[in-house]
C-alpha cells in the first residue's frame, strides 16, 4: 500500500500577484509579479529550479497552448516545463505535479505557476467556450452559474429547504467572504456587502444572484517545493508540509446513472475521504483549522461544507448561518476572501488558495492572520456538479 505524500514535500516559497482587472498586464507580467515574491521568499536562485509546471485553464484567451509561456515568461533555464489543464483544479494540479516530482526524487526543487488572463474577452463572466464538437451538439446551453445553480435545485429537492432559507445561507457565504476580502490587499474586490444587497441583487441563474457569483479577474500565483531536508539546509525552520493531495474525476455515473440527486458533489466526497486518510485526519471538523474552498458560487461553497464532512448532510444551511465558517468561527473558510473576492483566473486559483494557507500556517497573513492554525485544506471543483474534477489538498506544519 502506498505511503502517501504526507510530510515528504514542503513549500519553500510562495507568491501571488494582485488579482483584478489587470488591463495593463500581459500574462507574463502577472506570473513575474507572483514569481518574484515566491523566489525571494524561497531564498534560492532561479537556476536552482529543476522543473516547472504551468497551469492555465483557457489558453485560447491568454497565452495559447504549450508551456513556453511560463518558460519564456520567467526566462527559465531550459528546464522541463509542462502545461497542465484540468478545469478549475488546474492550479492544484500543477502543484501536485511539482510535489510528486520532488517526492519521487526526480528533482530537488520544483516550481508550480498558475495564471490566467480572463479580462480580454470583452464581456463579464467566464468566456463562452466549446466543450468539444460532439459534446456541443447536445450539452445544454449553459453558463457556469447556470450549472452550479443545479445544486440549489437538487439541495432543495432533497432536504425540502425553502427557497428563502437557502438563499439566506447563500447570501451569508458571500457576505462573509467579502468581509474577509476587505482585509486582503491582493484581492480584486475589497469592499463589504450586506445581506440586503445580496438578496436584492439581479438574478443571474436562479437562485444564483449577482453577489452569489465570484468575480472574474486576471491573476497569477506560484509555489516552489522541495524536500524537508533541503528546506532545512536552506535555513528554513518553520516548515509547511504537504499532507495530502487528492484528485477525483467523474466517470459519468452522477450524470448518467441513478443515485446522484444533485444535492452534493460526489467527487469532492471521494477526494476528501482519500485526503483525510492520506493526511491522517480522522475528525475533520476538529482537526482542520481552516479551508479555502471552490466558492465559484455561494451555493457551491455551502454544499462543499457537507462534501468535506465539515457539516452534516443537510446541516450546511444552519452551520453557515450560525457562522461556523466565518473568520471568527470554528473553521474559517475563505479567510483571504476566496474566489468571491479574488475572482477565478482559472489556472491561478488553486495556487492562490495554497498561498493563503501557507501564509496563515507561517504566521505571515497580517491583519487577517488566524490564531495558531495547524492544518489548512484547499478544494477545487472544475466542470459541472454532475461531471467534474475535484481536488483536495491539505497542508500543515511539518511533523504534526
Amino acid at each position: 500500500m502506498a505511503s502517501g505524500i504526507k510530510d515528504k514535500v514542503v513549500i519553500l516559497g510562495a507568491g501571488c500577484s494582485k488579482f483584478g482587472e489587470r488591463w495593463d498586464c500581459e500574462p507574463a507580467d502577472l506570473m513575474a509579479e507572483a514569481f518574484e515574491e515566491c523566489i525571494a521568499d524561497a531564498g534560492i536562485e532561479k537556476s536552482q529550479i529543476e522543473a516547472a509546471w504551468q497551469s492555465t485553464g483557457i489558453d485560447a484567451y491568454s497565452v495559447g497552448p504549450g508551456a513556453m509561456p511560463l518558460s519564456m515568461g520567467l526566462r527559465l533555464p531550459n528546464i522541463p516545463v509542462t502545461k497542465i489543464e484540468n478545469y478549475c483544479a488546474s492550479g492544484t494540479e500543477a502543484f501536485r505535479a511539482a510535489t510528486y516530482a520532488v517526492a519521487s526524487g526526480a528533482c530537488d526543487i520544483a516550481l508550480a505557476v498558475g495564471f490566467e488572463k480572463l479580462k480580454d474577452t470583452g464581456y463579464g463572466g467566464l468566456p463562452q467556450r466549446s466543450r468539444g464538437v460532439a459534446n456541443d451538439l447536445y450539452y445544454p446551453n449553459l453558463s457556469a452559474p447556470g450549472m452550479f445553480a443545479q445544486l440549489a435545485a437538487g439541495y432543495r429537492g432533497k432536504y425540502g429547504t425553502s427557497k428563502e432559507d437557502l438563499k439566506r445561507a447563500m447570501a451569508h457565504v458571500s457576505v462573509k467572504s467579502h468581509a474577509n476580502g476587505l482585509k486582503n490587499p491582493k484581492a480584486h474586490l475589497q469592499r463589504a456587502i450586506s445581506m440586503e444587497q445580496v438578496l436584492n441583487a439581479p438574478m443571474i441563474a436562479a437562485p444564483i444572484g449577482l453577489f452569489d457569483c465570484c468575480g472574474v479577474s486576471d491573476g497569477a500565483a506560484c509555489a516552489i517545493v522541495t524536500t524537508p531536508e533541503i528546506a532545512k539546509s536552506l535555513g528554513k525552520d518553520r516548515l509547511i508540509a504537504v499532507k495530502a493531495l487528492q484528485l477525483c474525476a467523474s466517470n459519468g455515473q452522477e450524470g448518467g446513472y441513478e443515485g446522484w440527486d444533485g444535492s452534493y458533489v460526489h467527487t469532492t466526497r471521494v477526494a476528501a475521504k482519500r485526503a483525510y486518510e492520506e493526511a491522517g485526519i480522522t475528525k475533520p471538523r476538529e482537526q482542520v483549522s481552516m479551508t479555502e474552498v471552490h466558492d465559484c458560487f455561494s451555493v457551491t461553497e455551502m454544499v462543499t461544507m457537507e462534501d468535506l464532512f465539515l457539516s452534516e448532510d443537510g446541516g450546511a444551511v444552519k452551520d453557515v448561518l450560525d457562522g461556523v465558517f466565518d473568520a471568527d468561527g470554528k473553521i474559517p473558510c475563505q479567510i483571504d476572501g476566496g474566489l468571491k473576492c479574488f475572482g477565478h483566473p482559472i489556472g491561478a486559483t488553486g495556487l492562490r488558495m495554497l498561498y493563503e494557507m501557507y501564509l496563515q500556517l507561517s504566521g505571515k497573513a497580517g491583519e487577517r492572520q488566524l490564531p495558531n492554525p495547524t492544518i489548512g485544506l484547499t478544494h477545487n471543483l472544475g466542470g459541472f456538479p454532475h461531471q467534474n474534477i475535484s481536488s483536495v489538498a491539505i497542508i500543515g506544519e511539518y511533523g504534526i
Binding site: T121, G122, Y123, G125, Q128, S130, V133, A134, L137, Y138, Y139, P140, N141, L142, S143, P145, G146, M147, A149, Q150, L151, A152, A153, G154, R156, G157, M203, I204, A205, A206, I208, G252, Q253, G255, G256, Y257, E258, D261, G262, F384, P385, H386
Partner: protein
C-alpha cells in the same frame, strides 16, 4: 380501398395577439386595424418547419419508434434547407425504420400539400402506407397584411389501403400559372397582387373549374358535400366559392384565420384534420389546394371513423393549448425581422462539424440512448462501457429509443447569463422513468408551475442557428407535460 388512415396536427403554443401587431403599425397603415382580430400561432425561436413536422407526425401516429411507412413526404414552402433533404431529418427524428423508406420534400406552391397527398395516395394504391406531413413557418414583412394573416403550424395525413377512415373517391388537378403571390430565389418575403383580382380571377374561377370537373367525374352533387376545405387568407372566399358551386354553407371549413392564421402549404391539411375530427361515416369531404392551379380531392368517410381521433392532441387540442403572447418585439426577434443586439455571448463558433454530427446523429436526431444487454441499464449517451458501476460491461449496449420517454426534473435553473434567443435559458437534469438521465435544455417553461419534480416529455427542437452559414442544429428538449 385507398384513403386516409390517420390524421394529426401541431400548432406552436405561442399565440400572438393580432391587436399588438396593429397597435405597433397602424400609424403606418391604419388598414391593419381591420385585420386585428384574434390571434395567430407563431413558432418559438426553437421551432421551425422541421420540428413542427415531427410533432405533427407524432400527433398523427404516435411516438413509437420503428414505424415503417413506405414513404414520408414533407410539403412546405419554408423548408430550412434548400439542399439537405428536410424530410430525412424528420424521418430520423421520428426514429422511423429508414431501411426502405422513400422520402421527398414537396415545395414551391401553396398546393404542395395536396399534390403531396395525391402522390402519397398513389403509393397507397400500390398497397403501401405513406405519410404526408405539411408544415410551414411563415415570414412576413413588418406592417404587412401578410403579417396579420399568416400563422405557423403543421399537419400530417397518413394514407393506406387498410383501416381507411376516408376513402379517396376521385381527384382532379389543374395547372394554371396564376401568380397571386410569389417568392423568388433569395427572397425572404412574399410579393402579392391585389386581393380583389386574386379572388375574382383566381379563387372564383380556377377552384370552381377544378371542382366541377371532379364532381362530374365522380357523379357527385355539390349539395351532398359535408365538408369543404379551401384554405385562403381571404376570409370571405370559401363561402363565396361554396355558394357558386352549390355547396352548403355549413360544409365550409373554418379557415382558422383568427385562431391560427393561414399556415401556408400546411393549412389545407390542418383544415382537413380539423374537419375529420368532426366527420361521421358517409360524409363527403372535398379538399381543394389552390396555387398555380388547383388540386381537388374528394373523400368519403367510412365506418372506421367511429371513435377515430389524432393520437395526440389533434387540431382541437392544439387550438386550446395556446398561450397568449403580447410581445410583438419577441415575435419579430424570433423571426429575424429586426437586427437585434444578441450580445457577445452569442458570438460562439457555430461550425457544423458535419462528420461529428453524422456520428452523433443517433443521439441528436433520434434521441437514442444505450441499453446494456448485460444488466438492462439504460444510459445516455450510448457508451462503450456500461455506466452501472456494478456492471461496467464493455460493448454490450444496443440502441435504445428514448424520444417517447417520460422524465422528471431533478435539477434545473433559469439562466440569464448564457445566450438564449428567449431568456432565461432553462436547463437541468432530467431523469427518465425507464432509467437513464441527461443534462439537457428545456423549452416552453411555465415559470409559475415549473420546479424540481415536474414531469416532462421530449420534443425535437432547434438547438442553434447559424444565420451566417445558413445552418441550424437540432436536439431534443424537455417540455413540461
Amino acid at each position: 380501398m385507398v384513403g386516409i388512415t390517420a390524421f394529426g396536427a401541431y400548432l406552436p403554443r405561442m399565440r400572438l395577439q393580432k391587436q399588438v401587431i396593429a397597435d405597433a403599425n397602424a400609424w403606418f397603415d391604419p388598414g391593419l386595424k381591420g385585420l386585428a382580430k384574434g390571434e395567430k400561432a407563431i413558432c418559438n425561436w426553437d421551432e421551425d418547419t422541421i420540428t413542427m413536422a415531427v410533432e405533427a407526425y407524432q400527433d398523427c401516429l404516435g411516438n413509437a419508434p420503428g414505424q415503417a411507412p413506405a414513404a414520408l413526404l414533407l410539403a412546405s414552402t419554408t423548408l430550412p434547407f434548400a439542399d439537405r433533404q428536410n424530410s430525412v431529418v424528420v424521418a430520423e427524428a421520428l426514429n422511423l425504420d429508414t431501411s426502405d423508406l422513400r422520402t421527398m420534400d414537396i415545395t414551391c406552391s401553396q398546393r404542395a400539400a395536396t399534390s403531396g397527398l395525391l402522390s402519397a395516395l398513389d403509393i397507397a394504391a400500390a398497397g403501401k402506407e405513406a405519410v404526408l406531413v405539411a408544415s410551414e413557418h411563415r415570414k412576413a414583412k413588418c406592417a404587412s397584411r401578410e403579417e396579420m394573416l399568416y400563422g405557423d403550424g403543421a399537419a400530417a395525413i397518413a394514407v393506406g389501403s387498410e383501416n381507411v377512415i376516408a376513402e379517396l373517391v376521385a381527384s382532379q388537378s389543374q395547372a394554371v400559372d396564376f401568380i397571386d403571390h410569389y417568392r423568388g430565389e433569395g427572397q425572404d418575403f412574399d410579393y402579392g397582387w391585389e386581393e380583389r383580382w386574386v379572388r375574382d380571377e383566381g379563387y372564383m374561377k380556377i377552384v370552381p373549374d377544378a371542382v366541377n370537373a371532379l364532381l362530374s367525374k365522380a357523379s357527385v352533387s355539390a349539395g351532398d358535400i359535408a365538408h369543404f376545405v379551401l384554405p385562403t387568407d381571404q376570409g370571405r372566399v370559401p363561402p363565396m366559392v361554396a355558394k357558386k358551386l352549390g355547396i352548403k354553407a355549413e360544409a365550409v371549413a373554418d379557415n382558422l384565420l383568427q385562431s391560427v392564421g393561414i399556415t401556408g402549404a400546411a393549412h389545407v391539411m390542418l383544415l382537413l384534420a380539423h374537419r375529420l375530427e368532426q366527420a361521421v361515416a358517409g360524409d363527403l369531404v372535398l379538399v381543394a389546394g389552390f396555387g398555380q392551379g388547383c388540386d381537388v380531392l374528394l373523400f368519403k368517410v367510412t365506418d372506421a371513423i367511429a371513435g377515430k381521433q389524432a393520437a395526440g392532441k389533434g387540431v382541437s387540442g392544439h387550438l386550446s393549448n395556446g398561450r397568449p403572447e403580447t410581445n410583438y418585439n419577441k415575435y419579430q426577434s424570433f423571426n429575424n425581422l429586426l437586427e437585434k443586439e444578441l450580445g457577445k455571448r452569442s458570438e460562439v463558433n457555430k461550425q457544423g462539424y458535419l462528420s461529428a454530427m453524422y456520428r452523433a446523429r443517433g443521439l441528436t436526431n433520434s434521441f437514442l440512448g444505450g441499453k446494456c444487454t448485460a444488466c438492462d441499464t439504460v444510459q445516455m449517451p450510448k457508451h462503450k462501457y456500461c455506466v452501472n458501476p456494478e456492471c461496467g460491461a464493455f460493448d454490450t449496449q444496443v440502441d435504445h429509443p428514448m424520444a417517447g420517454a417520460m422524465g422528471t426534473i431533478a435539477t434545473w435553473t433559469a439562466d440569464t447569463l448564457t445566450f438564449d434567443y428567449n431568456p432565461p435559458a432553462y436547463f437541468g437534469m432530467v431523469t427518465f422513468e425507464e432509467g437513464g438521465r441527461i443534462m439537457m435544455d428545456m423549452s416552453e417553461v411555465d415559470a409559475e408551475t415549473f420546479d424540481t419534480g415536474s414531469q416532462v416529455a421530449l420534443h425535437f427542437r432547434l438547438k442553434q442557428i447559424d444565420d451566417q452559414a445558413g445552418f441550424r442544429k437540432y436536439f431534443w428538449k424537455a417540455i413540461q407535460v
